[in-house]
């Protein structure tokens, strides 16, 4: 398998404080890869090392199989980068800025003009293409940032917190763009907004304090979870009755009672389900809702970050 990004024992030490500690990343080509972690966990530092902006203290980086050496990088043709706070030249228009970015790559004008027009359409800025960037909202700037990262038709793009500073509308627009890139380019993006990750990512890695806590596909991560919780909703009397009937069962670890609902934490989900069905049927208890609680990425994230 070709790896878009591969790091080996990557370390970044800032005066004795390890921002990134022996990070081993394996990002398959074509993936939309979520890079998760709380603020200050080393995400931005990692991205700056991957794009050649910061020198690793130790360890190695390979982008598309090519080693990345600080100060001698020849990777620009294959990568695109959107930093966490992208700075534009406010006096340029969106169109002239993208033309400028293309010219920095020496893309011939005949090809460049068409590409800029199509990118502006992709990121939903076609109508604002002649407006000065200084007048753009944050969301528009972020979308322009994605367009500039794609100007050279890169194989890998690195996006640092592309949605964190945006309102829900802006976030949705940016996530839709990222989703539309699926299969066309490897997207490596850092974030701490988990619902977005769940929507678009193929794989995620969760880091904290510069160390990898978890790395896998979203499905595997969810399946891996040992949460065995059953939620039951009914009227207050039925919930009380059910509680009385099952509280001595061996599969039960704990019961959390609310007014019209209960959450059972069980050791064997199948035994619990069969027993519950039987008790409810035999005692003619009217149930509003019974469901197995699926762990969200957020639950897993909170769990691994807290455990670390």
């Amino acid at each position: 398998m070709i790896l878009a990004v591969k790091t080996y024992d990557l370390v970044k030490d800032f005066n004795g404080i390890k921002a990134v500690d022996q990070l081993n990343l394996r990002v398959p080509e074509g993936a939309i890869y979520g890079f998760l972690g709380p603020n200050g966990s080393g995400k931005t530092t990692t991205l700056k090392m991957l794009t050649g902006m910061t020198q690793p203290t130790s360890g190695t980086i390979e982008i598309l199989g090519e080693p990345l050496l600080f100060g001698k990088q020849k990777i620009q043709d294959n990568i695109g980068f959107l930093p966490d706070v992208p700075g534009f030249y406010d006096w340029m228009t969106a169109y002239s800025f993208l033309i400028f970015c293309g010219e920095l790559f020496h893309i011939p004008t005949s090809i460049l003009k068409g590409r800029v027009t199509s990118l502006l359409k992709t990121v939903g800025l076609a109508k604002s293409s002649k407006k000065k960037i200084g007048t753009f909202s944050r969301g528009m700037k972020q979308r322009l940032g994605i367009a500039q990262a794609l100007i050279n038709e890169p194989k890998v793009i690195f996006l640092d917190e592309p949605v964190s500073a945006l309102d829900p509308q802006g976030r949705k627009e940016v996530i839709d763009i990222i989703q539309s890139l699926k299969g066309k380019v490897t997207v490596f993006f850092s974030t701490h907004i988990l619902s977005d990750v769940e929507r678009v990512c193929d794989r995620v890695v969760i880091i904290n304090e510069g160390v990898i806590l978890l790395e896998d596909t979203i499905e595997n991560i969810k399946a891996m979870s040992d949460t065995h919780e059953i939620e039951i909703e009914s009227d207050g009397v039925s919930i009380k009755l059910l509680n009385e009937l099952i509280k001595e069962e061996k599969y039960l670890i704990s019961i959390e009672l609310n007014h019209q609902a209960m959450t059972l934490n069980v050791d064997d989900l199948d035994v619990a389900r069969l027993n519950l069905n039987k008790v409810i049927h035999e005692n003619k208890i009217m149930i509003k809702k019974i469901m197995i609680k699926e762990p969200t990425l957020e639950d897993i994230y909170m769990k691994v970050v807290k455990q670390a």
Binding site: M53, F81, L104, H106
Partner: protein, 252 residues
């Protein structure tokens, strides 16, 4: 080596932002003021201090150049220096440096474009200032050239190149535009204070103004001015190499 699209952006930026207007206004204003104040200073003093009797010799074109050397190397140069110090630090503070350096622009090319654009701006301002001074000196005094004018102008020009690259280097080293501007002003002040050590003026780029003034008074210091020009050029080259080297290794 040089990415011309980035250089083009640097030049366009000067035109599209207030930078060029501010610098051009200052340089043009003080170039105009030089010959005019040389010509009418005596009359102005007489007008405001009519009760004191002082007799001044009639002004000549030499006073006009004296005003030029003094104004150009002080107020005009300080404004230029402070505006140039923003060149790299503002790109770092704003974050645009990441967008440029992840394109096909090497760090060396990035800095060289900044330096070339700075040199081009300074050269344009220098030529405009000299031409304005020249023209009005000729109109007001019927005389322009004197022995030592060309070498004096060359020393002022090389001083400008030196200050341009010094400003770029300071811009690379500091994290905020305010810090960079303060340090640049400090460096300017220090070099100018050092001009009191007259024997060292030939080795101090800022000594060019003092040496040029001495030429005006008939003191032939051609040898010292030539040394001063060579010093400025050598220091400029050293600072170009230092700047590119530091920026190449800098963590952004």
């Amino acid at each position: 080596m040089i990415n011309f699209s980035f250089l083009k952006k640097e030049l366009m930026e000067m035109i599209r932002t207030p930078k060029l207007i501010i610098i051009a206004t200052v340089f043009v204003f003080f170039s105009l003021i030089g010959p005019l104040s040389a010509k009418y200073m005596n009359e102005l003093i007489e007008m405001f201090a009519s009760d004191i009797e002082i007799s001044f010799p009639d002004p000549t074109h030499l006073q006009s150049w004296e005003q030029f050397f003094s104004n150009f190397t002080s107020i005009s140069m300080i404004v230029f220096l402070i505006l140039i110090t923003g060149t790299v630090v503002s790109e770092k503070a704003k974050g645009s440096v990441y967008l440029v350096l992840t394109k096909n622009v090497t760090r060396t090319s990035f800095i060289l474009c900044k330096i070339i654009a700075g040199f081009m701006l300074f050269t344009a301002m220098f030529l405009i200032s000299v031409l304005i001074t020249w023209y009005y000196t000729w109109i007001l005094f019927d005389n322009v050239v004197y022995d030592g004018l060309w070498i004096s102008l060359l020393s002022i020009y090389t001083l400008g190149l030196f200050f341009t690259i010094a400003a770029v280097l300071i811009s690379i080293l500091f994290k905020t535009t305010t810090h960079a501007a303060l340090v640049a002003f400090g460096a300017y002040a220090l070099l100018n204070i050092l001009t009191i050590l007259t024997d060292l003026n030939r080795f101090n780029p800022a000594g060019s103004a003092t040496l040029s003034m001495r030429m005006l008074t008939g003191d032939d210091v051609t040898g010292s001015i030539i040394t001063n020009v060579i010093t400025s050029i050598v220091l400029t080259v050293v600072l170009i190499i230092t700047s590119t080297h530091i920026f190449k290794k800098q963590e952004l």
